[in-house]
Symmetry: C2
Subunit: 242 residues, 2 copies
């Protein structure tokens, strides 16, 4: 059987990986991925073959994974977090139509919305929306619209890709949109480099978040109207009687 695993490896450290993900990597001869994520696991699996491409070459990365699987090598395409959340599982499945003999198996992982939330406390206890601020593949107007509607619906909001060199003011622009509906005192949090060296977490108000600089390895949480800051924790009550 020709087999291609698309694997979410979780936030970074090996202990955040599922047993299933670990077993799939062990069964694979070739590991494919974005070089930053491959570096997270390379030391644990020194005997594997590796293929990496830079950020903007996702299509080439996926095609190479499919070609090699089609030649008979069991391949693990690894993604940070979950392969299905802004990861490679969609692109692989689209391109896989040209390789009908390759069986694609997607193995879920812990995405930053979950691992970041655990680090901050319990911000996601109620309905939530996950939005990427990257406009590389999505028009900014669509992102703005989704931000507006999520705030109007009093969703807890998780922002992925909140910043990059070319988009340093995007988080500020997003906060300004949210502030049309949400109070400046809304409880928020951010986590940088979840589960990796240099991990940092912070709770703060939406007003303070607006004036905070973050990097591309940061995940941002905006509470709903009920979310509270308690010490260094961010907690959204679900409505249980205490």
């Amino acid at each position: 059987m020709k087999l291609l695993y698309v694997i979410g490896i979780g936030p970074g450290k090996r202990s955040g990986m599922t047993l299933e993900a670990q077993s799939a990597i062990e069964q694979s001869g070739l590991i494919v991925g974005y070089h930053v994520y491959v570096d997270l696991i390379k030391d644990d699996y020194p005997d594997k073959e590796y293929y990496t491409t830079p950020m903007t070459q996702e299509t080439e990365r996926c095609k190479e994974a499919l070609r090699r699987a089609n030649e008979g090598t069991t391949v693990a395409m690894i993604c940070s977090g979950d392969a299905g959340v802004y990861g490679m599982s969609g692109l692989i499945l689209q391109l896989a139509e040209e390789y009908p003999e390759v069986e694609v198996e997607v193995i879920a992982g812990v995405t930053a919305a979950m691992s970041g939330a655990a680090r901050l406390g319990a911000p996601l206890m109620h309905d939530f929306a996950v939005i990427s601020l990257s406009d590389r593949l999505t028009p900014w107007e669509k992102i703005e619209k989704r931000l507006r509607l999520a705030a109007e619906g009093d969703y807890v909001i998780v922002l992925y890709n909140p910043s990059s060199k070319a988009r340093s003011d995007y988080l500020m622009r997003a906060c300004d949109i949210l502030l049309e509906h949400a109070s400046p005192e809304t409880a928020c949090g951010l986590v940088e480099s979840i589960g990796r060296n240099g991990e940092q977490a912070q709770v703060l108000t939406l007003e303070a978040l607006r004036n905070t600089s973050v990097n591309m390895f940061t995940t941002v949480f905006i509470g709903n109207s009920q979310t509270m800051i308690s010490g260094d924790k961010l907690v959204t009550p679900r409505g249980y009687r205490l």
Copy 2:
């Protein structure tokens, strides 16, 4: 140190658990949880003490976990999926204020949005909203409003708790609201008993979903306007050039 772990054990089978979750359970003397989830892991850890309560006694369950941790037993409060997504981490952190000596550590897991998506293919590749249809703790009007706004924003939508004995028509009511904005041909999927005995997955249109009965162990996926059904897979393209 007095320690209480709040652990997401993933969808069901042990291989979906993270290494960190497994290690925390091994370090604990007492495992606390809803009896259905405790049954999923009990055979793997025969030497532990167990404490379970039925569905509506979450507060009592959390208080007992905190009391026992405060007495010096390391406790694992387990939740299915992720402890922070409609799980117990929020309630534990709220109640923990009365037990300042107990350190609470939340350990993230793979929630049904991720594990169900992996089973269906790649429906979550774009911005998504997670909504529970249970109105036990949330007014139905608020749920309706969030459904409407999510459909208006062309979010991919994941529905938790889509049905119960007392709420057998809630999924139909939700679909009717979504159909105000979304096409009847919108690509959808559902997964029942993810990672457990009797797992079943199905892809179907929103119109067909409206007339489908599901049980409380089902997670429902409603695609955005770009989501496609391809064979037995549900895929949302992210916009890469193929």
